[in-house]
Symmetry: C2
Subunit: 339 residues, 2 copies
């Protein structure tokens, strides 16, 4: 029917000409239909349909200044933790008829900077970001320029930035208490480098709990630093644990993928779980409960995390707030045995 040649998009003035009205009237039909008489409205709508008119968002935005879009930058879109958070953001934004531009920085500060710039140029309402660096100065600058900024999965060290995070110390402490309750007095902790804030916090939480329970962390805790926070890291870490002179009776892992590697290694070494070695993960990813040995893990309220972040971003009063969620220990057979 219509030609497929990608001719110039119809503009509002094309519509006006065809409907024999002024551009102002077309704009009114689009934005305040009640201000226009039914007859004219019909004519304009017909013209819009006829010309397959789609309003130009850039022009609208340029003139109106406002935009109902928010940006989010996570470290890695292919990590289930972050996508669950993104999902929470999306769901909250949708309630307000906002849309989300999602991007991943790949932990690279320059990629993060690039997306921040893109978002700012396009006048988003605000950005939610899992920072790729310790240094947050650029985000404070952004904030000072009037853009809303919400830190994701990271408590804000300054009171000018909002943040939504989970209490990593509490999560690790809960896991530690659970293990000590079960009688474990020597615990291995497969952890990443402390330059990653989450790793440092979880280590601190573990210490706290042990001290609180009257154990000496130096004796009770063996922290092993792994370089990759995945199953391979879990494997090499567990091999080190098994080689220890005084073998721990429980292993706590910095995340569930690491725990996966640990379980695999223990199985290969014929160490029964949990009787020979109890294992705790972190994140409670979807498959944690589906493993041959269902994994005890620390669940984080990922969806809520995103939901609350979007909430703060949309807040009409633009309040600055630091929100901290509490994680929850989910106990399964990798610590308690078949129950």
């Amino acid at each position: 029917m219509t030609t497929t040649a990608p001719r110039r998009r119809a503009s509002i003035s094309d519509v006006a000409r065809q409907a024999k009205v002024s551009v102002g009237t077309v704009s009114n039909v689009l934005n305040r239909p009640d201000r226009v008489s039914p007859a004219t409205r019909e004519r304009v709508l017909a013209a819009i349909d006829d010309l397959a008119f789609v309003p130009n968002g850039s022009a609208r935005q340029l003139r109106a200044g406002t935009i109902t879009t928010a940006g989010a930058i996570v470290l890695d879109v292919s990590n289930p933790f972050f996508t669950d958070v993104a999902r929470g953001i999306e769901d909250r934004l949708e309630e307000a008829d906002y849309t989300l531009m999602l991007a991943s920085s790949d932990e690279k500060p320059e990629r993060e900077a690039r997306y921040l710039r893109l978002f700012e140029e396009h006048g988003v309402q605000g950005v939610m970001v899992v920072p790729a660096t310790q240094d947050l100065e650029h985000l404070e600058t952004l904030r000072a320029r009037g853009l809303r900024v919400v830190l994701l999965d990271r408590p804000s060290p300054v009171d000018t930035l909002s943040s939504v995070a989970v209490d990593d110390r509490a999560g690790a402490a809960a896991a530690a208490r659970h293990l000590v309750d079960l009688g474990h007095e020597r615990i291995a902790f497969l952890n990443g480098p402390h330059t990653i804030r989450q790793c440092a916090d979880r280590s601190a939480g573990l210490h706290d709990a042990l001290v609180e329970l009257g154990l000496d962390p130096v004796e009770a805790l063996v922290e092993i630093t792994i370089s990759t926070l995945n199953a391979d890291g879990g494997q090499t870490g567990t091999e080190q644990v098994l080689a220890l002179a005084e073998r721990p009776t429980a292993t706590m892992c910095v995340n569930d993928l690491t725990a996966l590697g640990a379980l695999r290694t223990l199985r290969a070494a014929d160490v029964p779980v949990p009787s020979g070695m109890a294992v705790v993960g972190y994140d409670d990813v979807t498959f944690a409960g589906e493993l041959a040995t269902p994994l005890t893990s620390v669940r984080q309220p990922t969806h809520q995390l995103g939901h609350r972040a979007a909430d703060l971003l949309l807040d009409p009063d633009d309040v600055v707030e630091q929100v901290t969620f509490q994680p929850e220990l989910v106990v399964r057979e990798s610590t308690t045995g078949v129950g």
Copy 2:
């Protein structure tokens, strides 16, 4: 230090005034620095820095008409399959200095339509979409209006739309051949409803392979329809399989989550894998090889899928092409036993 009151953003004319040049010159500093003398350039850059000037993307885009952004709509951002595809898209787009707006339709046609409209209004270069409906007419309309459209994970039924998909029949057939090679002559297939194209295709592929190998599909294949394509579906499906009078010796699952549920159920029923029941999954998600019984699965080139889709979207000649990738069977212990 600076006031936090969100004062008006500096515009190009503010910069021009401060640097005592014309707006045209500022624009040149931004876009063709070589056209400007070093001295002036310095002065302008200083002013830009001083005023924390960030160009307004909408204005630029409005005038320039073009934009280096693409949109992608997947069914669910929290599904690892789709996020891996998104990752492939992002990586290819980055090479061309393009950015990605990612959104999920949640399998709802109206959400898909909403995002399509948003993307079109903002003048994206094109959209890559995993359609939420069988009907693709709205996408053809979009295409006729000059927007580039690439179908994701779905072969195009019309030659006006580009598409990038994986051969599901071949994947299922490869799995079937592997099982028959191992001596299995009665196979259960836990599959979703055939209204989902992937499910229908995989079923067909299974049939094809059995016929080709001289087996009668009616006898050799028991297809069980599950309603949720996850671990729960796998569990209920497997319970049905175990209740069959003539129990199959292998179970093929429509995806890895389903396979996870199957493995769990078999273990609970003390059926050894693979000697009592071989299991095959689909997708080869990251943890498939990390399970207590590593899972044989059909790997899809997710990253390539996205990469190629972005490639088509960026093609300077705007060619229309239907690309089909071949999946690959990854054999692990859930079919071959400890090797």
